[in-house]
Symmetry: none
DNA sequence: CATGAATGAGGTTTCATTCAT
DNA sequence: CATGAATGAAACCTCATTCAT
C-alpha cells in the first residue's frame, strides 16, 4: 500500500503518477522499468516516488490495485448483471463501444502482472476473484435461461469464454495501437464473429 | 545466430546449454535471468557462454529457434497433416499422449518470448508462420470435409482455435507442475471437454 | 550555534528537541541519525529543525553544548569543590545516588561525540577543559591533604582516574539499561570496589 | 564470511584489501566509509569487492575477524603466558617495544567495532573472549604468586586493568599519530608510570 | 578454446536540505 | 514562523561483458 503522503496529493497528480508507472511497466516490463523515467514522465522528482511508495514493487503492486479499481468503478456503473446473460452483456458493451474502452494500457498491464505472481498480494487476488464471480454469474444466468449448455461445469465454461474473449481483445489491440483510430464497423463485425463462435462453436451449421 | 564454436560442441553439451538457458529464462524472465547461473547449471564457465553467443540477446533468440526446431522435428515425425482434419489431429495426439508432451519448459519459454517482440527476428517469425500454416492446413482440411463451418475465415477460426487450446494447455500445466505426476485419465477427460466445446461451442444442445 | 528562533521557543520545547536529538544520535550514531525522526519524536515538523539549526552538524554540536550545560548546572549546585578531596567527592555523590544520575543518554552522547573530533568546536573544548579542571582541583586537593601520592603528575593521575571511573560507569550502564531498575546496594558495593582499587591499585594488601 | 573467491586471491592482495577497508572504516566510520574508495585504495574495481563479500557489513565483519587473527598470531608467537604474571607480561612487551606495535589502525578499528554490536557475530565474540581469557590467566597467575590482592574478583580486576591500559594506549596513539616518530624513552617512562599506578593506585607511598 | 576473476556502467534507494503554502 | 512535500546528489549493489591465464 502507498504511504499516506500519496493519498494527500491532488487526484490528477495521483493519476498522473499511476499512468506514468503503468505505461513504463507495460513498455519495458517490471525489471527494466526505471523509476527515474516514471518520475520524469509524471513530472516529479525521482525521490518523490519514494515519498509515496516504499519501493518499486510496492509501486507495481499498487498499479495493479489502482487499475483494478478503475475497472471496478466502470463495472459498478453498468446496469446490474444479476439478471443479465452473457450475450446480453456483450451486446450491451458493444452498443456502448465499451469492449475496448477498457483502457489499452491497463489491459496490457494486467498481462504483465500475471508474470509476477509473487506480487499478486491477497488483496489483489480477492479483487481478481470478484471479477471472475462477475463472469460466473453471467454464465449461470445464461444456463438458467437455457441459452447455453449445462452439461459442462461453469469453471470450464468460464475458462473457454475468457480464453476467446481475451484473445480477440489482444488481437484487436495489436491491430490498432492507437485506439482513436479504431474503425467502429470493423470492430462490430469482429465482435459479432467472436460471439458467433462462442455460441455455436466450430461446428456451427456445418455438416448439417 | 550462435558462433561457429557452439556448433563444434558435442550435441549433449549444446542441449545442456540450451535447456539451462531456457529454464533460466522461463523462471526469471529475460531481464533477471543471469548468464552466470545459466552457465553454472550447464556445467560450463561463464566466459564460455560468450565463446558461443555474442550476448544475452543472441542466446535468448537462439533459444527460440532451438525450441522451435525441437517442435518441428516432432511434427515432422508425425504422419503427414496434409489430409488430416483438426479433430483427427487432436485425437491422434491424445492417443499418443502428446498434447502436453510438448515440453513444458519450451511452452513457457514461448510465452516469455512473446514479451520481447524486438527479439523475434525474421527467422523466428518465419518459423512461427510455419507452425500457423500447419494449423491453417488442418482447418482448411476440416472445412473441405464439411466438419466445420465455412462461413468464417480461416484466420479467425485459427485464432479461436489457438485461444482455446493454448488456454487449456496453460491451465493444465499450472495444475501439474511436475508433468510426471499427470494422471492420464483426467487429462483425457479434460481434452475431450475442450474439444467438445470447440466442436459445439457454448450453444451445444441447449435450448434446442 | 542555533539560530535566534530556537531560543525564542518555550523552554520545554527546546528541551524536547535536544533530548530527541541526543537520543537519536546515541541510538544510531551521527551519520544514521535522521533529522525527520528527531523532528517526529520532538513533535515538531522536519522543516522546523532547519528554522533552528543551520544543519545536522550544528544540531549535533549544540547537543554537546547543551548536554554539557546540564552537567555544569548540576555541578554548580553542589557544595563547592574547592576544598574537597577526590574521595570525599565520590562519597558525597554516592550518598546522593548521583554517580549515575549523570543522565545515561547524555553520557552515551559524549561517547558518540568523541568519534567526531571535527565537530568539537573551540567552545566545546573549552567546556571540556572546565570539567577537567574540576577534577584536577580535586586531585590537587587530595595531594595537599597527603591522601594521594605526589610523585606522579596531576595529568597522569587524572587520566588514570577518568579511565577507571568512566569504565566502571559504562559497565554499570550496560548492565542496567533501565536506570530505574538499578539496585542501590549492588551499586554501592560496586562503587566501593572501584574506589578501593583506585586507592590501592592491584597491590592492595597483598604480599605484605 | 567472505566468498570463496576472496581466499583464492594472492595473500598480498587479500591483505591490501583488508587494510584498505580497515583504514577507511577507521577514518570515516562504518556508515560514511565508501566501498568505492576502499576499492580504489586497494587498486581493485568497485565491483570486485562484491565478488569477495556479500555486502558492506560482511566486509566490515571480516575486518574484525581478520584483525583479530593478526593479533592472535602475534600473541601465539610470544612466550607462553601460562606461567607469566601481569607485570612480567608488560615488562616483556615493553622490552620488545610491543606495547604499541599492536598496529594502530587495528586498535582503532576495534574501537569502531564496539559501536556496531549487531555486527559482532558469535564467531567474533568467541575470539573476543579468547583475548579476555588471556588476561584473566595473567591475573590469576599474579594472584597465585601473591603479587596482587585476592580480595577482589578477577572480573573486576580485569575491568580495572583493561580500563587503564586501554586509556593509556589511546592517549599515546593520539599523541603520536605517526608511530615511527615515537620516542622510545618517553614511552618507557609513560608505561612505567601507568604500571606504577596499577600496582599501587592513587595511594602509593603517600601519607605513610 | 576453457575458465572464472575483473570491470564499471547503470539502476535503486536514502535522506539532508529547500521551498511553497 | 510552522509545516511537510519536493528535490536530487550520492551511495550501494548487480551483473553483462571482457580479459588474462
Amino acid at each position: 500500500m502507498p504511504k499516506e503522503t500519496f493519498f494527500r496529493l491532488r487526484d490528477e497528480k495521483q493519476e498522473g503518477i499511476m499512468r506514468s508507472a503503468i505505461r513504463e511497466f507495460v513498455e519495458h516490463g517490471f525489471e527494466r522499468a526505471k523509476i527515474c523515467d516514471i518520475a520524469k514522465n509524471a513530472h516529479v522528482a525521482t525521490g518523490s516516488i519514494y515519498q509515496y511508495f516504499a519501493d518499486k514493487s510496492e509501486l507495481f503492486m499498487y498499479c495493479a490495485q489502482w487499475g483494478f479499481d478503475v475497472f471496478m468503478k466502470k463495472i459498478d456503473l453498468r446496469p446490474d448483471v444479476t439478471n443479465m446473460d452473457i450475450f446480453e452483456y456483450y451486446d450491451e458493451r458493444l452498443a456502448n463501444s465499451e469492449i475496448l474502452s477498457d483502457e489499452r494500457e491497463l489491459v496490457l498491464f494486467m498481462q504483465e502482472l500475471t508474470r509476477h505472481p509473487d506480487m499478486m498480494r491477497p488483496s489483489f487476488v480477492e479483487m481478481y476473484k470478484k471479477s471472475e464471480e462477475h463472469i460466473l454469474q453471467l454464465i449461470q444466468n445464461s444456463k438458467d435461461k437455457g441459452l447455453i449448455r449445462n452439461d459442462i461445469s461453469n469453471d470450464v465454461l468460464m475458462e473457454y469464454f475468457v480464453a476467446v474473449t481475451e484473445r480477440f481483445k489482444m488481437r484487436w489491440m495489436a491491430k490498432y495501437e492507437d485506439l482513436t483510430q479504431m474503425p467502429q464497423d470493423e470492430l462490430r463485425e469482429y465482435v459479432e464473429e467472436m460471439l458467433e463462435l462462442l455460441k455455436h462453436g466450430l461446428k456451427g451449421g456445418a455438416n448439417v
